[in-house]
Amino acid sequence: MTEETITPVPAAVAAEEPASDVGELSQWQLIWLRFRRNRLAMGGMVILAIMYLVVIFAGFLSPNAHDTQNLDYIYGPPDPITFVGPNGKLGLRPYTFATTTVLNQATFKWDFEIDRNTRIPIQFFVRGDTYKILWWRANLHLMGIAPPDRLYVWGADSLGRDMFARTLVGGQVSMTVGLVGIALTIFLGSVLGTISGFFGGTIDDAMQRVIEVIQSFPTIPLWAALAAALPNVSESFTMLHRYFLITVILSLVNWTGLARQLRAKVMSYRQADFTSAALVAGASNARIIFVHMLPNAASHIIVVAALAIPGMILGETSLSFLGLGIQPPMVSWGALLRDSQQVSTVVQHPWLILPGIGVVITVLGFSVLGDGLRDAVDPYSI
């Protein structure tokens, strides 16, 4: 491509360039600088990083495996933790209290009673249930108490399974649905949005109608209707298939927002001098799109994507809560919260809604992160 060779900058002009001690920052460095000044957004990023680490090491951090059933501890309450030792002094070693079951004479049900006199020391780095971290098998747990007793920091569910472990493992699904979904959204949204904005005319009109049709459905009912068409988990249709198709459904509805924004961007870039220059230099359409337009729009794509993640996480949670998303035995925050759909059950066992904390923190984290990114992408404003 000889047409594209740029004539070298004359030496005289080069000499007037700022001296090197002034330093030059790239667009991305400027964005990062601005982003770092936003304490709220930085906080959101740190919290998210911690959350991802926690859910990756879920097996190690929780005292029990998430699927170990304990029929002696059905709907067992959270074990209280104290730092006051048996001698009545505040120390460093945490203790929990023994729980006993008492037959309630009025309801004829087994109630749990916490025995405030018997302290059980909590041990660190104990061997227990086997779990998996990525591809690794291990049985070392951060905390635990001497067997046969088990430590339930967040209580137990209808089958006596550890709610804390289930919440952490559920996070593995809920916190990745948004990321996988957003990857698909970025792909669909940027391809279709760019085509629509670049070529205009009939293609653009058709695309805009399609987007309008998709946007004329309220999201959760449309997601629910699409998810209802998925077959139930079976031999040929595994949990992983279902998980993947749920993310596809979420992004099938979600790409429209990104496509619209990108279309507007690409349309304005078409008028820009750099596009005309590239055209005159004989660049192909593909080259203009991929080398000139998309890198310019990259920061906006990232912002729109970051702001769309919370919606996807909430979408998965709502779908699974309704029984249309992730289904047992796979766990996600929404699937866990499904157990609390019966209000009478939750009122008696309020710890069943604890997985909701995960949803709130993650969504909050992504919201402030996205907000901070949006403020940071325009580094030249003050």
Partner: protein, 327 residues
């Protein structure tokens, strides 16, 4: 203006036609629908009666027809108000939905109005009192409101109401009024049950709209005409409400089209938790049971509502700001 309205209405009609196609596809999507199930059941039963039934059902829903005929059968019936049969409830879909859709509209519209009033007030306050303690507190609440899913908020409020206040929440009436005829105490009881759903349904919308309002107003407050108004010695109240707020409202009307679907989306899930007699729980249940004519009719109803709502928002916006007509 008339030209603009006609053009917009034309777009809306085209959109509605495509919406209908999507609705039809959703009916056809599930592998084993209730209709197939019923047909199989009738075939195994055998007998003259069953054969007649099968024929009637096949004729009505065009089971053996090519796709376009099938679509046309469904579409023409739909437009004429015959939405199909709910195989799960053994009743007419139109009849089932009409009993509940009134409540859906009541809850969503009330929540919408409440959330607009609150968000405009709160948005104006936090924009005029920027970087003060209340503004930070409002911002915090806005972020929380956006990140707590509606059904979770509903659950937390219900647990709180039941455990600490000892109130029976959920449903529309207390158990003693459920079967009673309408009376003043029953109405008061209804009002007592309404506030939780309305708060919960409107929460995320309010958080979002007040955030938008704050941003808009902050932009407008920097405009020169606001400065001019101040320099003329107008009262600050008049500057804010007569000059700034009026101009900051346009984008809010524009997002009206978006806030309505969001509210209906939330309402669908929240009604299940709060045990409200709206169409949401009926819809989700129909989906779980693959009772597709019932589910899709509700979905279509929402879509039609939104398309019409957007049309109205467009027209209102064009009336507020005549420049839009010529874009």
């Amino acid at each position: 203006m008339l030209n603009y309205i006609i053009r917009r209405a034309g777009y809306a009609l085209v959109t509605l036609l495509f919406v209908a196609i999507v609705g039809f596809l959703i009916i056809e999507l599930p592998p084993g629908s209730y209709l197939d199930f019923r047909l199989r059941e009738l075939r195994t039963l055998g007998g003259d009666y069953s054969v007649d039934m099968i024929k009637a059902l096949e004729q009505r829903y065009g089971v053996n027809d090519p796709v376009h005929v099938k679509f046309w059968k469904w579409f023409s019936n739909f437009v004429q108000g015959d939405f199909g049969w709910s195989f799960q409830y053994e009743r007419d879909v139109g009849e089932l939905l009409s009993a509940r859709i009134g409540y859906t509209l009541m809850f969503t519209l009330t929540s919408l109005i409440v959330s607009w009033v609150i968000s405009i007030t709160v948005g104006v306050y936090s924009a005029t009192h920027r970087y003060t303690l209340p503004d930070y507190a409002i911002t915090l609440f806005q972020f929380i409101g956006l990140s707590v899913p509606g059904f979770l908020l509903a659950l937390v409020l219900m647990i709180f109401a039941q455990r600490t206040l000892g109130m029976e929440v959920g449903g529309l009436f207390s158990s003693r009024f459920r079967e009673a005829p309408w009376s003043w105490p029953k109405f008061v009881d209804l009002l007592g049950h309404l506030w939780i759903p309305i708060i919960v349904i409107g929460a995320s919308g309010t958080a979002w709209l007040s955030r938008v309002m704050r941003g808009n107003l902050l932009d407008v407050l920097n405009m020169q005409y606001v400065q001019t108004a101040r320099s003329k010695g107008l009262q600050e109240r008049k500057v804010i409400w007569k000059h700034a707020v009026r101009n900051a409202l346009h984008p809010l009307v524009m997002v009206f089209g978006m806030s309505f679907p969001a509210i209906i989306s939330g309402e669908t899930v929240i009604s299940i938790v709060l045990n409200l007699p709206t169409a949401g729980p009926l819809f989700i249940n129909a989906l779980l049971q693959q009772d597709m004519y019932l589910a899709v009719t509700f979905l279509m109803f929402l879509a039609v509502l939104l398309v019409v709502g957007n049309l109205v928002a467009d027209i209102v916006l064009a009336w507020l700001d005549p420049r839009i007509q010529f874009e």
